[in-house]
């Protein structure tokens, strides 16, 4: 008896095997088959301004409390990233290459719950050429040039590019369409230079900075009775042909002392108590012996921001002191829209709602202190 066995690999079987292998291979191709995004405790996606995924760029995870770098992940072919570490509150920064046509972007102060699906949108990069010279017109090499993303108004400005000038005193950097461009004086000789709120066209922009030499102002901040005040924020501004320029800030040490770099002439110092116990003060800086800056205590004022319809309106609040010719630090109210401030007998209060959908800032100008409570609403404050 003879039996005819069929061959091990018939054309039909081979076709089936080929189809199976092809399906498996296609599953790994982006956009085809079952895509498994990278897994982790925090995850998200990076998109460009057209909503297209941006692949193979580093995304950094920072702890919001310590500002320390926890982990760097790279986006995959779908623009997705994931982190294995977690922090209860954290910052993220997506950092494209300078020549990619995109500029980096931050997502600040996110909670772990918000970190399941974070979206980072990268603005287009517009080229900026910067030339930095000293007061004699000589190029300054190694000056730090920064581009700030100033898209969002208020507190959300962020540093998205930092480069150093070359030996010609020049730097070419990508900048977002709405930017502050700053040259930060770190060499101990020259002041900083700024161009605030610049709209950078797609074709690019040129900025020339001539940085004058500065001088160091020493001073001490005291309260009533010559008591040293520590932790007071002191900042220096000076007026130049380009407008007001900022030369940085310092917090006073336990003896109330500060050393700030500023222009020999026309420097104005601003001293602000972040805890709002003392009234803010602006004064012309004096060169020579140590300056003594005396801050006065104000009267306590409990400010309650509402939307005018009995709803609390969490806000950031600034208080003007006419005696000191200065505004306080813009302090956040609590969730109920209340804040304990310190005010002079005559003052102004401006509140900017924290909610994006909320109305414009509310202001109460030229108030007299008549009670320790102020209800600030669009109706009561009279608007902006």
């Amino acid at each position: 008896m003879s039996s005819r066995r069929s061959p091990f690999l018939t054309p039909a079987k081979a076709s089936l095997v080929m189809v199976a292998l092809g399906t498996i291979a296609l599953m790994g191709v982006p956009g085809v088959g079952a895509y498994l995004p990278p897994a982790g405790t925090l995850a998200g996606i990076v998109l460009d301004r057209r909503g297209e995924a941006v692949e193979d760029i580093p995304v950094a995870l920072f702890d919001a409390a310590s500002l320390s770098l926890l982990e760097v992940a790279h986006t995959d072919a779908h623009g997705r990233f994931a982190f294995q570490q977690a922090s209860s509150r954290f910052h993220l920064f997506a950092h494209p290459a300078p020549a990619s046509g995109r500029v980096g972007a931050w997502r600040l102060s996110l909670s772990r719950e918000e970190g399941r699906e974070v979206e980072i949108s990268l603005p287009s990069a517009h080229p900026v050429h910067v030339a930095v010279t000293d007061e004699m017109g000589m190029p300054i090499e190694g000056a730090e040039v920064r581009a700030y993303d100033a898209r969002a108004t208020g507190e959300e400005s962020t540093v998205v590019v930092r480069v150093l000038t070359d030996e010609e005193g020049e730097a070419l950097l990508p900048a977002p369409p709405a930017a502050h461009i700053g040259v930060v004086g770190h060499d101990g000789h020259h002041l900083s230079g700024w161009r605030f709120d610049q709209e950078i066209p797609p074709g690019g922009a040129d900025f020339a900075f001539s940085l004058p030499r500065g001088t160091l102002f020493h001073g001490r901040v005291v309260g009533p009775g010559d008591q040293p005040l520590s932790g007071i924020l002191v900042s220096a501004w000076d007026e130049r042909a380009e407008g007001w320029q900022w030369n940085g800030y310092q917090l006073t040490d336990p003896d109330g002392r500060f050393d700030l770099f500023g222009a020999e002439e026309s420097t104005v110092l601003r001293a602000v108590d972040l805890t709002q116990s003392y009234l803010p003060l602006a004064l012309a800086a004096e060169n020579g012996p140590r300056m003594s800056v005396e801050l006065a205590r104000g009267a306590p004022l409990r400010i309650h921001c509402t939307d005018g319809e009995e709803g609390d309106l969490p806000s950031r609040v600034w208080v003007w002191s006419p005696e000191g010719q200065a505004w306080s630090w813009g302090t956040r109210t609590d969730d109920k829209g209340t804040l304990q401030a310190s005010v002079s007998s005559r003052h102004a209060v401006v509140a900017r709602p924290l909610r994006g959908d909320a109305a414009a800032p509310v202001a109460a100008w030229d108030r007299f202190y008549d009670a320790p409570d102020l209800e600030l609403s669009p109706a009561a404050g009279g608007g902006d």
């Binding site: 580093p58 950094a60 920072f62 500002l67 320390s68 770098l69 760097v72 910052h91 920064f93 950092h95 931050w106 600040l108 920064r146 700030y148 100033a150 208020g154 507190e155 959300e156 400005s157 962020t158 540093v159 998205v160 930092r162 502050h180 700053g182 605030f196 924020l233 900042s235 501004w237 007001w244 900022w246 800030y249 601003r270 602006a282 600034w318 003007w320 006419p322 010719q325 200065a326 505004w327 630090w329 813009g330 102004a348 401006v350 100008w365 030229d366």
Partner: protein, 79 residues
Amino acid sequence: MNARPLSRVPLLLLAGLFASAAGAAAGRLASPAPQREAADELLRAQLEQELILAESTATMYGELESALRTMREAAGGAR
């Protein structure tokens, strides 16, 4: 019926008070300069606060650049 004439002194006083109140009101309307100055200062204070708050992003940016440089050097060395 005899209407009692108002004495001239209180009349002058009233007129003076009225004039000074009107003058003060007109002055406030005509010169809102202190408010404008305060409003300009507010923009500068807000900008400064923005820059100070952004300092933390400058610090973190620097740390990331340094970490990426180290990674690139390590990758270059491994090749």
